[in-house]
């Protein structure tokens, strides 16, 4: 996380049974950052979607790769990075959400990314030497203080 170690780092195999551990630590960190239970669940959902995408799209379902989640509280924001060393995101491949087509064509693609974008204040993708990074930021509630790690 550019210049500074993130507070919490979790590294798990690229298998959906580890999404629960990702969810747990995300909720804990969200609560330490001052988010309430419902907000913590939403944040965990966004991270779940990002990690699921790594498993399904970056690794194409391969079970022996690694997913890394980095969580940090920086001043007034919670920052989450989901990192993989698989295939990067091709921005052109990301479908636009078209609700009308969902119903008529049973299209479901694009929902995950859309949810991530709606839950977080920002979602950005970048490639680094250490892998592909999906960085998601959410402003902390005003009252929130606590874990400045």
């Amino acid at each position: 996380m550019s210049g500074r170690r993130p507070a919490l780092v979790l590294r798990v195999p690229s298998r959906t049974e580890y999404l629960a551990a990702i969810r747990d630590v995300t909720r804990r960190m969200a609560e330490l950052a001052g988010f309430d239970g419902g907000e913590a669940d939403q944040l965990a959902l966004a991270v779940d979607e990002a990690a699921t995408n790594v498993i399904e799209h970056a690794y194409h379902g391969a079970a022996d790769r690694r997913v890394e989640v980095r969580l940090d509280v920086r001043g007034d924001e919670l920052r989450v990075e989901v990192v993989d060393d698989g295939e990067g995101v091709d921005p052109r491949a990301v479908p636009q959400v078209d609700l009308r087509r969902y119903a008529s064509e049973r299209r479901t693609g694009g929902l995950g990314m859309h949810l991530m974008g709606r839950i977080m204040d920002s979602v950005t993708f970048r490639r680094t030497a250490g892998g592909n990074v999906c960085c998601m930021v959410k402003r902390r509630p005003a009252a929130g203080s606590g874990a400045a790690p």
């Binding site: 959906t16 049974e17 999404l19 629960a20 969810r23 419902g38 669940d41 939403q42 965990a44 959902l45 779940d48 979607e49 699921t52 498993i55 399904e56 959400v97 609700l99 969902y102 119903a103 049973r106 299209r107 479901t108 929902l111 995950g112 859309h114 949810l115 709606r118 839950i119």
Partner: protein
């Protein structure tokens, strides 16, 4: 710590599903399986009663999306009830409140099938 359980009841020919926990890419098969079982039995009136649902990821929304056409073609509908604020928000964020009928309580969802509004056109 169980990630997801899905209890099932039947009332007035309606299948009531009670997912408890988290629906995501890992647990969605269980949820899908319960819906599919209802369809296999020819039951096309389904209420997903979400009081115990903590969150539903896109995989779960996709599961509902994947069966709604078959259900409506057969004169039934899949309706939602008793969603907590987090889950309700997810539906709203995605505009799914325009695709599905969502009721504050289970009983309202059940009664709605009496209205003869089975053909599940989305609410106005």
């Amino acid at each position: 710590m169980t990630e997801l359980s899905v209890d099932r009841r039947e009332l007035e020919g309606i299948v009531l599903l009670y997912p408890r926990g988290f629906i995501n890419a890992h647990t969605v098969r269980l949820f899908e399986g319960e819906i599919q079982k209802a369809l296999d039995e020819g039951r096309y009136r389904i209420v997903v009663s979400g009081a115990g649902l903590k969150y539903i990821a896109s995989a779960g929304l996709g599961a509902i999306m994947g069966v709604v056409e078959e259900i409506r073609t057969n004169g039934g509908d899949i309706r939602l009830a008793d969603l907590n604020e987090t889950v309700r928000n997810i539906f709203d964020i995605l505009g799914f409140n325009h695709l599905y009928r969502i009721f504050p309580s289970e009983i309202e969802a059940i009664l709605s099938f009496r209205e003869g509004g089975e053909t599940g056109s989305p609410p106005a």
